[in-house]
Subunit: 358 residues, 2 copies
């Protein structure tokens, strides 16, 4: 049978620790070329929907150690509203019932069969946060206690348990431009984690004296500046405009998730379609030139490159651009848990296989 697993199942049975562990094993495999991640494509076109922008995204990867491969697909209507003076990229829930469309298909490398199908939402949050957490694990100071979180949306929310899984965090300071939103997030997460959460009214005071700063926004402009850097600080980002180029150049150690995050070659557009994501840091950027030689997360996890050598270095982990193989890792962990707990809906595997040679 092919298991249809829901976001509710994933929320309940997959812990961020399981997810981080699966990701970490995967990066070890990737470092030694025992696993592969495919070429990602974001296909951006017109649409009859009022938003004007459709995006079909596909990414995938295979991890023989786990005996799985995965393909993740997103079929999105995109909008670019402004809020708090900042232009943001949002996915519009345009499918029936005001729903989003993101799917992961998990396959067996032993038989080829589809083992599981699940919506990507919960796993997507976990894999982004889990990857940032691995950046922290390998680069931040061992004794880091305070985290400044720039962003108060779902990406930011997901970072909280992930950071707490890799360091003994005593306080999160949360800044987002909307007061209600940052306060709500703090109340919710303090209840959930038992860790002190402080809503902050400006980003600079959130960042001051923090051991770790995490940018976790959907902003299309810079949210962290060079002047804010302090000795021993670790700064993480999930989008390639969040950290000012000068701040990247000023760091002692910078690691990136994967080199594919430095180009926009994965975006394929029909005529006249703007890139949509606004100005990305361009290849002419001195910061990006510096990054061409930067170690990648797989180097850190495998021990090929050391993440931090002393307490005063400024480190940065640029978690730009997801990889399809992250869904193979997290999907494998989710599938194990679903089998263990008897969760999910069994669908006939024959629906998704065939007796005609393809």
């Amino acid at each position: 049978m092919t298991l249809l697993i829901s976001n509710e199942d994933a929320e309940q049975i997959l812990s961020i620790t399981d997810c981080i562990d699966a990701l970490e094993q995967m990066y070890g495999e990737l470092a030694d070329s025992r696993a592969v991640s495919g070429h990602r494509s974001d296909m951006v076109t017109e649409t009859a929907h009022e938003s004007g922008t459709y995006s079909l995204k596909m990414m995938g990867g295979v991890i023989p150690k786990f005996e799985v491969g995965a393909v993740r697909i997103n079929s999105d209507l995109l909008g670019y509203p402004e809020s708090g003076g900042i232009k943001r990229r949002v996915k519009i829930p345009a499918a029936p019932g005001d729903r989003w469309v993101g799917l992961v298909l998990l396959f067996s490398t032993r038989t080829g069969e589809p083992l599981a199908i699940f919506p990507d939402g919960v796993v997507q949050h976990m894999r982004v946060a889990g990857t940032s957490a691995l950046g922290v694990k390998y680069m931040a100071r061992e004794n880091a206690k305070t985290v400044a979180l720039l962003g108060a949306g779902w990406q930011a929310a997901a970072q909280i348990p992930a950071m707490a899984a890799v360091r003994n965090i005593e306080e999160f300071r949360v800044y987002g431009p909307t007061p209600e939103r940052r306060e709500k997030l703090c109340v919710e997460m303090e209840q959930k984690t038992g860790i002190k959460m402080r809503p902050m009214s400006d980003p600079q005071s959130a960042v001051k004296d923090a051991d770790i700063v995490l940018c976790a926004t959907n902003s299309m402009t810079t949210v962290f500046y060079k002047e804010w850097l302090e000795p021993g600080m670790h700064v993480g980002a999930i989008r390639n405009v969040e950290i000012e180029a000068a701040a990247i150049n000023a760091a002692d150690r910078v690691a990136i998730h994967d080199p594919s995050g430095l180009t926009s070659g994965y975006v394929l557009r029909t005529k006249g379609m703007a890139l949509g994501d606004g100005k990305k840091q361009s290849a002419d950027d001195p910061a990006l030139k510096h990054l061409a030689d930067a170690p990648i997360l797989a180097d850190l996890v495998s021990g090929n490159v050391q993440g931090r050598t002393n307490e005063t270095e400024i480190s940065q982990f640029l978690n730009y651009q997801g990889l399809g193989i992250q869904f193979a890792a997290a999907g494998w962990a989710l599938y194990q848990k679903a089998k263990e707990h008897g969760r999910g809906r069994d669908l006939p595997t024959d629906w998704f296989t065939e007796d005609v040679i393809p």
Copy 2:
């Protein structure tokens, strides 16, 4: 609802003419950059299956004119047996019930929702054959009557109705290394199409005086040679080793399906995995250098480039490397027909959408 369409449905309701028409419209859109095809990936790794080679393939494309996007996924165990002295690449049906795993997911560009899911088998045969047929439509002589078919497998079988849809073919001469197989194909297809089918015991006599030669094999070595070229002949191929490089150089006009077929950059392998497909024509090959400037099918369909200017030119269409967008075109045609005929199984769209933002 999301429609689950079977190969049986596709076989019964989708005609090769519908498929060729959808493909032709799609290439017109592609030529004017009103449609996009994504980066294809073939991720090749070890497997615990005895075959030793697992391949996860993903490709996709979006056609706003049809309001659809598609992703096609293949999860294959690959073997490389020899038959008739020729090494072949075969997909092993290793999924439960000895089945193959190939899936197409069709999405709406208006709502993002998954409109349909179907196994790729029947559509896969039609899109390869339909694309070769477009090569014939735009390049072969109008009065072409005889076709030599090199190959007697399912790819070859699919070419027969496709060729008959674009030219008034009076005779097919079929060569494959296994006598029973070519004879069986001839009996079956003569019954099905009413067109004369002649099984041939050697390729050279099949090719002699033929107006059109189609290589439709899974061979990993050359099957068509320069000495066999004749004035006015059109030669088609579906794999990049089928036509000898010297024969490609000797043609008057050569068009290719898409430039992505000339590189192997889409194949991503784990350490120690051979490419599997054996020796491909390399980028150093003089024939390939010549091909870098060759027109693509979209150029021919849009009229940007003329396919043939006189009766004596030797033309070639190299239908190497499929594009994901072909599945958006053929999938759109199939979905229309399924709705029209009330075919397919309705699945709840909610299974494949979500209320968690991805």
